[in-house]
């Protein structure tokens, strides 16, 4: 009985991390598609967001196959910081933060919107979505599966 319970919990933990990995992989390939195939040059803030999502694609992969569940200890901080950058970028995009405050080079403005999917979905929105789903799943993971 209790053996079964442990097994189910393990299964759930694995699925949660697996979904996180899928999101990180989608973000990785999606961002590479936009920069390398579509030729959209990433601005400084885009780079900071990349810095925190790319390692997640590797860490979740390793985490799926580690017997312990400490994966959350080193992935959650990355995801939270990345989410911070994504929110900041979105505020810049939507004009909440004035342009004088933006930390970007002259040649590539972070406030300039260069892609809108279906008319309203911007790149920072996709970034916020990916990061917040990852953070949410990790919090669920911590509550249910992390001892």
């Amino acid at each position: 009985m209790s053996q079964d319970k442990i097994k189910t919990a393990g299964q759930e933990a694995w699925v949660l991390i697996f979904i996180c990995w899928l999101i990180a992989m989608a973000a990785l390939f999606g961002s590479l598609f936009m920069s390398e195939v579509m030729g959209l040059k990433p601005c400084v803030l885009c780079w900071y967001q990349r810095i925190f999502i790319y390692p997640l694609a590797v860490l979740f992969l390793v985490g799926m196959f580690s017997p312990d569940r400490s994966v959350i200890r080193y992935t959650l901080p990355l995801a939270v910081i990345g989410l911070g950058f994504a929110i900041y970028h979105h505020l810049l995009y939507s004009g909440f933060i004035p342009e004088s405050m933006q930390p970007c080079g002259e040649d590539l403005s972070c406030a300039e919107i260069n892609l809108e999917l279906m008319g309203f979905i911007t790149i920072p929105m996709l970034s916020i979505f990916s990061y917040s789903v990852i953070v949410l799943l990790l919090l669920i993971f911590r509550k249910r599966c992390y001892p």
Binding site: L32, F33, V37, M38, M64
Partner: protein, 216 residues
């Protein structure tokens, strides 16, 4: 075991999706680009542009070049080879895009040599001896000058001719056309108005051969 399969399959799926999407996107983009350039055909050639080949050849290669550009020089024999292989079918039109420092003066020398019917010889000589007159990516016309012996050029006349207003007007026109056609690097090739999108000798050969086939 089953988890391994799922993870590996997902990983492969990502890579496959990426490649397929990239291929579809690129082919779509290429056809868009080709259509866009069809409307810009007027910028491709000017009456004054140096031209090589038979006038009734059906395929025309337009090359934007900089005499001080190493890749242009390295590509020149290859372009000649392509013309030789498709003898009578392929024309070459040269356009100036002097991007290096001092390169515009070299272009003036080339243009002035045309008045003495020595354009292609002078260009070959400039390419052959580029080591002597290009220092730190800067073209030094005085040094090229010393390499022009033996081409049958009247150098005194050349010196006068190269100051002409018409020549600088042509250079300005070519630069403006290059901007219009979005050529920012040399050599920039167009074959029958279609830009060479992915740069390379194989790609150029493919483009030329497909145009030659299309005209047969």
């Amino acid at each position: 075991m089953k988890k391994n399969t799922i993870v590996i399959a997902s990983g492969i799926l990502f890579v496959v999706l990426f490649s397929v999407a990239a291929t579809v996107y690129n082919s779509q983009k290429n056809s868009d680009i080709n259509n866009a350039f069809l409307e810009k055909a007027e910028y491709l050639e000017r009456d004054y542009s140096p031209r090589k080949g038979l006038p009734d050849a059906k395929v025309t290669i337009v090359e934007f070049f900089d005499p001080a550009c190493g890749t242009c020089s390295a590509f020149h024999p290859f372009v000649k080879q392509l013309m030789k292989e498709n003898r009578g079918k392929v024309n070459l039109v040269l356009r100036y895009l002097p991007l290096h420092n001092g390169s515009d003066v070299i272009v003036s020398i080339l243009e002035a040599s045309r008045l003495q019917n020595r354009f292609w010889q002078t260009l070959e000589r400039a390419y052959d001896r580029r080591d002597t007159w290009i220092v730190n990516h800067t073209a030094l016309p005085d040094r090229l000058w010393m390499q022009l012996e033996g081409l049958g050029l009247d150098l005194e006349r050349l010196k006068v001719d190269m100051q002409s207003v018409e020549i600088s007007r042509r250079i300005q026109q070519d630069l403006a056309d290059a901007q219009e056609l979005e050529v920012r690097k040399t050599p920039g090739f167009f074959v029958n108005g279609k830009p060479l999108i992915n740069f390379g000798d194989k790609q150029l050969r493919q483009l030329v051969e497909s145009e030659v086939r299309a005209q047969e």
